[in-house]
């Protein structure tokens, strides 16, 4: 059930090829230009803490089609790597330091993320509605 939204859409073979939405996003990207600094100011910030190789909170609920700035604070002395295949994000965070990752805008669905250095315990997900 976790992957319901992604799976449903990907079962249709036509989706493997660029859809009209994809073409539109390409155009949007081309128009938006390479540097995108102006938009960052208004981005909502959500904080995640890593402690004892666990994410706090382990579940985030975000609105759809919104860009979010994740502020990840690793309070463990050991480094951790925030990783998500679904979000296409990967970032090493040294022990006792902070990192920023931008996420979204996202379609509704579930986006699991995990700490690649301690994946058994450091697991979480972003729920987008």
């Amino acid at each position: 059930m976790k992957y319901s939204i992604i799976k449903k859409s990907s079962i249709k073979p036509s989706n493997i090829f660029p859809s009209s939405a994809a073409v539109r996003s390409l155009v949007v990207f081309l128009l938006s230009g390479l540097l995108n600094h102006a938009a960052t100011a208004a981005t909502p910030v959500i904080e995640i803490t890593i402690k004892d190789h666990l994410f706090y909170p382990a579940e985030l609920i975000l609105p759809a089609n919104t860009k979010i700035k994740l502020l990840i604070h690793n309070s463990d002395p050991t480094p951790e790597e925030f990783e998500s295949y679904e979000l296409n994000r990967e970032k090493v965070i040294a022990g006792n330091s902070r990192a920023v990752i931008f996420v979204g805008p996202l379609k509704p669905g579930t986006y699991p993320f995990f700490g690649e250095f301690y994946p058994k315990t450091a697991q979480g997900k972003i729920l987008v509605f």
Partner: protein
């Protein structure tokens, strides 16, 4: 922990191993010396070590976009060096020994730089990962066994790629090597786009498609294809665009180099005939 170490080390090793495999095969093809490999590896490892111990400082640069920006710069540089390398390989023609020595040197320097950059990127992550477990009595053995397995698989694939390339019919060797280099260059540029998207220097757009149901990125084949041709199950427009431009640039460099070599050959011949004419007089 073991499987996780395997995957993590394999991800990092595989890319460097494949790159080294291709560059070694080109070296063997050109009968060039192999000193660049050791220089590249050791220089890369040293710089990676300093990057790893200063990771939190580096990360805080550019308003916490430091890591991504540095990675993107290194990846773009690898792409640029590959383009220059392809130009160099394509523009090779029968040269006098003195010039071919200089040519070999330039080739070796480029290979050294490419390997160094690849090792810095991959090495710092491996070092950070392993450092986290050094004091951990419970996990350290499994992590190191896993790392050994991951490294072994990565290195083996690199070695097999190297011998596989050399086992190809001679006429196919150069095209195959150039194709792999083009894919690497595209992959590097695409990865740099992902890095910049992550810190919002490039706007995030919806993925062009989602093929994760067919081939998941975290599967064994997915990892291999990711390292080899930059497979991504949910690529964005920026990624695709940089991937295609990386490949096109390498292709252009190969074409340009070949054309340049032809021109040089023609010029060289006419110059020769002029000098010989002067000698006759």
């Amino acid at each position: 922990m073991l499987l996780n170490s395997v995957i993590l080390i394999l991800q990092e090793t595989l890319e460097a191993a494949l790159l080294i495999g291709v560059l070694l095969a080109i070296s063997a093809h050109l009968h060039s010396s192999l000193r660049w490999l050791w220089y590249g590896l050791s220089l890369g490892a040293i710089i990676a070590f300093f990057c790893a111990i200063n990771m939190s400082t580096l990360s805080a640069w550019f308003d916490y976009a430091g890591q991504e920006v540095l990675n993107a710069i290194m990846q773009s540089m690898i792409c640029v060096f590959i383009i220059v390398l392809v130009w160099l390989i394509s523009s090779v023609r029968p040269l006098p020994t003195a010039a071919s020595h200089a040519y070999g040197n330039r080739f070796a320097q480029l290979c050294c730089l490419i390997i160094m950059l690849a090792v810095i990127r991959e090495g710092q992550e491996i070092m950070l990962y392993l450092s986290g477990f050094l004091g951990n009595v419970e996990h350290v053995q499994k992590v190191f066994i896993g790392s050994g397995i991951g490294f072994g698989i990565g290195a083996s694939v690199g070695i097999l790629l190297f011998y596989g390339l050399l086992a190809l019919p001679t006429a196919w060797q150069k095209p195959a090597m150039l194709t792999l280099l083009a894919l690497f260059a595209g992959n590097m540029l695409a990865q740099s786009a992902v890095q910049l998207t992550q810190v919002d220097w490039i706007a995030q757009t919806a993925p062009l498609w989602d093929s994760s149901a067919w081939l998941a990125e975290d599967s064994m084949l997915g990892e291999l294809l990711y390292a080899l041709i930059g497979y991504e199950s949910r690529p964005t427009a920026a990624q695709m665009l940089s991937y295609v431009s990386g490949i096109s640039l390498v292709w252009l460099a190969a074409l340009g180099g070949t054309y340049y070599a032809k021109q040089q050959n023609l010029n060289g011949h006419s110059a020769d005939s002029i000098t010989s004419g002067a000698c006759v007089k």
